[in-house]
Each structure stands twice: as C-alpha cells, then as structure tokens.
Symmetry: C2
Subunit: 361 residues, 2 copies
DNA sequence: TGCTGGCACTCGATTCTACCGAGTGCCAGG
DNA sequence: CCTGGCACTCGGTAGAATCGAGTGCCAGCA
C-alpha cells in the first residue's frame, strides 16, 4: 500500500488545493481551478494526469465521469495530518472565547452546557462536551435528606464540585433523628474517600440506623460504578445547515440523541490520542458522513474530559482544530480555577501548536 | 367575522375530511377524494362549491389554482376544537407508557429527560418537558461544602427532590470549622422555608461566620429568584423527518436551543388554559410552521409543570393530545409517588420495594 | 523525459416542448 | 338544491436539444 507520508510535493499541493476548494465550495473541483490556485505553476493537463494518480491511490474520487474530483476520507486524512497546521482563531473569535471564560460564573453543568454552545457558535458546527470524569474523585460531603415518609435522598458532593444524588426507598418510616445519625456516619466514612471505597466499620447501637446506612452504601456503590454517561450537545441546528440531505440530518441527530454512542466515540478517540476522526474511521455507520475534531480537557495536567466538534467531512479542519484546542484548554483552566480562584491570576500563556495531529486508522 | 361554531354540518364534515386526509398524506386534497370519504354522500361538484365557501371563510387554501385544498391554521383550529376528541392511545402505546412509569426509577432530572424521549417515541414528533417549578418549594436541607481554599459550594435540597447548587467565592481562606458553623446556621434558618424568605436573625459570635453566612444568603437569594428555565427536549431528530425543508428544520431547532423561548411559550400556553397552539397563534415567527400540544403535569392537584409535543401543523392531533395527557398525568402521579411510595399502591399492582439497577450498556 | 496545448468525448445540468391528469369553476338540466 | 358535464388551469413528468465544465489522450516542444 502506498504510504501517505510520501506523496510527491506536487501531488500534495494538488491534493491540498482540491481539499481547500472543496471545503469552501462543496463543488467537485476541476483541474482548471487547481491550476489557477496559488503555488501551482503547471498546466491543467499536468494536473489532470496527477489527479488520475491521486484517484488511483485513493485520495480523490469522481462523482461521475466528466466531473471534477472530490476528496475521499483518505484525502481528508492526508490533508489533516500532513498539509495543515492547527491554525489560529481570528481575533474576533479569540476575543469571544476570552470574554466567555471571563464572564462565565456558574456551576459545572451549566458551564459545560454553555461551553458547547460557545464551540458551536465559533465553528458553525455542532459540538459535544464530555464532562470531566470523576471516577477517581473523592467525596467532599455525603448527606441523607428526608423527602417523604419513606424516601430519602442521598446527596454526594464531589471534590470537583459535581453533585450526585440518588433517592432511596426506605421501605419503612424512619424518623428524622435516625436519618441524621445515618447521615453523620456516612459522612464520616466517606469524606475524602473515593466513592467506590467507602465502608462503614463498626455497627452503631441502633439496628435501624445500620439498616439505613447499608441501604445508602449500596446506593453509593451504584453511583460510583455507574459510568456517568452524560454529554452536552451544542448547536444541533447547525447540522441542518451543514448537510443538505434531510435524512442525513435526521440520522446524525438520532445518533446524537443516544448519548452513549457519542460518549464511547469520544472516549475511544481520546484514548487513541487522535484529534480528528473522519468519515467511517470510527465504526459508526450513521456518522459516516461526519468528521469529529476532538481536544482533551485537562485539569492540572490530568486529562479528564473532552470537547468535540461534529461537522460534515468537508469541514474547516484548521479552524475546528484551533477552536477545539483553545476551548478545551481554557475550559480545563477554568475548571481548575473554580477550586482555587488564586490560580486564575496567572495569565493564560499564549497557546502554540505543540504537536501535529497524528494517528491514522 | 364568521364564527367558528356554526359551520354547516356538511361544511364541517368536508373540512374534517380534508384535514384528516391532509394529515395523512401531506398532499393537497381534491374534491373527489373528499367525495369518496366516509360519511359524505354528495357529489364532487357540490363539494367543490362548499370548498369555495370554506376557502372564502379562511378554513382552506389552495397552493395554486387547479390544485386541491389544504387546511389553514384556522382550519386546523376548527378541526381540533370542534371536530375531534382527544382520542385514545393504542394498546401498544398504552403499554409502553405503563411499562415506562413502572420501570423508571431515578432522579427527577433523568426522569424528565427520559419522559421527553418517551413522548417523542410515542408520537414521532419532538417533545418538550417543562420541569415542575419549585417556586414555592421549601428547602429540606441547606449545606455549605468546602471545595477549595477559597471556594465553597452551597447545596440546597428542595422538598421535591431537586438539588440546586451554587459556588461561592469566599475571597479569603476560611477554615473548615467556620464553614461548618455557617452551614449549620444556614440550615437551621432555611429548613422548611421557601427559598425566598430565608433570613438569619441574630449574629453569631464570630464575624467570619457572619460574613460567610451573608455571602451564602445572597447566593440563596439569587438561586430563588433565578427562574430555573430549563426545559428537556426530546427527539429533535424527529423534526428532521417531519419537515422536509431543511431550513425549516434548522430554524425550529435553533429556536428549541433557546430554552427561554420554549419555556415562555409553554408557560403562556398553560396560563391560557389551552392545550393546542397552531402555527402563528403564539407570537414566535420561527415556529410558525409548527403546532404545539401541551398538557399540564399536576402533582397532587397542583399544576406544576408541563409536557408538550412539537410537530408540524399537520400533526396527528388526536394522538398527540392523548399522548400528552396520559404522559402528563402519569408523570405527575409518579412524581408524587416518589415522595411517598405508599401513595403509589396502584390498583392491581402488588407493591414491592423494588430497586432496579439502572445498568446501562 | 516531462510539460503543454489541443482535441475529441462524456455526461450532468439546464432549457424547452409536449402532454398528461388531477383539479377547478361554471352551467344547464333533473 | 344537487348533479353530471365541460372547458380550462397548471404543476409534474418525460423526452429532446443544448451547454459547458471537465476528462483522457496525444503529438510536439524544451
């Protein structure tokens, strides 16, 4: 198999021209257009023969004879990996991001929700935000609150500010004092422990308290094990604009509704250390006409969440990459700050592209 | 203005036929089709002349000369108000609803989220669920949890099981004990009070405690006043299927993204005691091609939230009305039960404390 | 050898025409 | 007052003609 790395300089230039033009116009690109593009000084005839080669090698394809070429997924892949730097945001967008992160002052959930809106505004594509996982997060507080005669709510505050809750059927009436006692025992046992590893050592005097505690403990266990598969989707309406086939829109939206799919896609991508997934590179049929650009959200160096941009395969990759990285980074900082406002005093250092997108299928 | 009430019996029958047919086929309906419809025993010529009248009176319109008629908003309105009963769900759907509400066992938010999915599955339209307002809800618990050196989280548990939170910048370092003291004072002051009316009477000995308390109180006030304008949208992908113009889809989705608009629309509709809004009857331009079917969610007789179905104006009103009502009612019951499981001793249902693991995937 | 201009050819898109048929409005007769 | 009949309208479809952007190939030139 011909290796991507060594395409002719000229072939690469031609491929780049085709991809750029196609991203802009969504029309198949002919040899004449390429010839006119900057940095290419050969005639259209030469370009045609090169294009034949590029097509043979799988970078381009023709919708039909006597039409121009459009990039294949492989073509986009080469473009992203070899031909393009992450790019920078325009000053207006950069300002928008800064303004956003200065102004935003709210709880995690809402912040993530609004971050996803920001991303989709910046890029005009749909966006997804994967919340920081609090797998390893320790509990700051555990509390039982009575809601009704036989119902209590277990409220857990984690160190990252997230609040998890779960209602518990008590099966019999439990007086306030018992609830309070159980709550105190739980809190003592769970404080500063990771959710999974909470045990309560000694039995108290009261068997009812013990019963409640054990109910709460199992609920706690469930909370810990349950992958918190929420994902925030921003700007789904942009999808309708990005695709023109209404059934494509429908299919993609339907996939987005299944949070699970999106979450595992993002996790997968992150794990492989990749930042762009194009077309069918992931296994999901329904997203075959999409590309996803992902950037990690790191809190104090620990990668813990992700932001992603979801658009058509002919999306503006440099811009999307830039937006995802900047927003991901700023979001990480912002989350960090929210525990220690002083940390936010340090000016955000200028972001420079450290690494090119890597990873192929 | 001709009053809606008194359309000819025959005119009404014709209108009904046109609306039904159009809802089914999305094609303009001609006089022949109407003549063939059940319950109409006049010739197409007669129907034509009646249709002319109906058109003059604003119930029907022609997309162009020599095409059939399609209903206007006014036509739909008459159909909904005079010609149709809410209808009943099919046995399969009814069972789906029952199964859902038996199985669902989770926190408010997730339940609402999943209810909206249920609704959109039942109807194949998009759905919205307006959470029960907890304007008047009293606090069951108020707590301050330290998150970082200068940051605390105010966690409020309301009587309806909702958990509200807000982080507080303390501006200086506050030791755990102070936080605990403040937390205790707040809890005592706020317990069983509506969020708005919390005051702390006497000053404690410690000025730092007082400071923290006052910070927390103002945060509490903000929480109370802030209209909690969240709305759960289900099945946006169904919209893409319901409309065929991609820009309509885009516009409607964009409107749905602005939670605010949807919330005030629903509130408005509820307030007017209406259950169906058709086309431009509400003021929102971007939803002019939609109809909304709304049903209240009452908890113990108190109307406190709403469910809605959002589809094209040519939606299946009887089915949508039935679905909205049933789901709204069951949701209200379910919410009520979640405070007092005994209340849910549904007829012919053995009640066992059941604890279903919500294992996903 | 490799690039170029030229040329014949392909084929989707556009335009034009004809035509079909569903649907209308109108009217005379039962 | 209803009905069948009739002339008319006009969107949608089908086929033919045309256009033009684009291709592959090739001979000739640096």
């Amino acid at each position: 198999m011909t290796d991507t790395q060594d395409l002719d300089l000229r072939k690469a230039a031609i491929l780049e021209a085709v991809v750029s033009e196609y991203i802009g116009t969504a029309q198949p690109v002919g040899s004449h257009h390429v010839a006119r593009a900057a940095g290419i000084n050969v005639s259209s005839a030469t370009i045609r023969s090169e294009m034949v080669a590029l097509e043979r090698e799988g970078y381009l394809m023709q919708p039909h004879t006597s039409a121009g070429r459009i990039p294949t997924d492989k073509g986009y892949r080469f473009f992203v990996d070899q031909l393009t730097e992450p790019g920078v945001l325009g000053p207006a967008q950069r300002q928008k991001v800064s303004r956003f992160f200065e102004q935003v002052h709210c709880e995690m959930e809402e912040m993530l929700e609004r971050t996803s809106s920001l991303l989709s505004e910046l890029t005009s594509y749909a966006s997804v935000v994967l919340p920081p996982s609090h797998e390893a997060a320790v509990a700051r507080s555990v509390q039982l609150v009575g809601l009704g005669p036989r119902v209590a709510l277990l409220v857990v505050v984690l160190a990252d500010g997230a609040v998890e809750k779960r209602s518990i059927d008590l099966a019999e009436e439990v007086p306030e004092e018992v609830l309070a006692a159980a709550s105190a025992r739980l809190h003592a046992a769970a404080h500063s422990r990771p959710l999974g590893g909470v045990t309560v050592s000694a039995a108290s005097g009261d068997p009812l308290v013990d019963h409640v505690v054990s109910l709460a403990l199992s609920a706690l266990g469930e909370l810990a094990s349950e992958a918190h598969d929420r994902v925030f989707v921003g700007g789904p309406s942009r999808l309708a604009a990005a695709f023109d086939a209404v059934e494509t829109v429908s299919a993609v939206l339907a996939t987005l509704e299944q949070q699970l799919v999106v979450v595992s896609l993002l996790r997968d991508v992150l794990e492989r250390g990749v930042s762009v997934v194009i077309g069918a590179e992931h296994g999901y049929q329904s997203l075959a006409s999409c590309a996803v650009v992902v950037a990690p959200v790191s809190v104090e160096g620990q990668p813990s969440g992700a932001v992603g941009i979801l658009g058509p395969t002919r999306m503006n990759y440099p811009q999307a990459l830039a937006a995802a990285r900047v927003v991901g980074e700023r979001l990480g900082q912002r989350i960090h700050e929210s525990f220690d406002p002083a940390a936010g005093a340090a000016p955000a250092e200028e972001h420079r592209p450290r690494r090119r997108a890597r990873g192929r299928r």
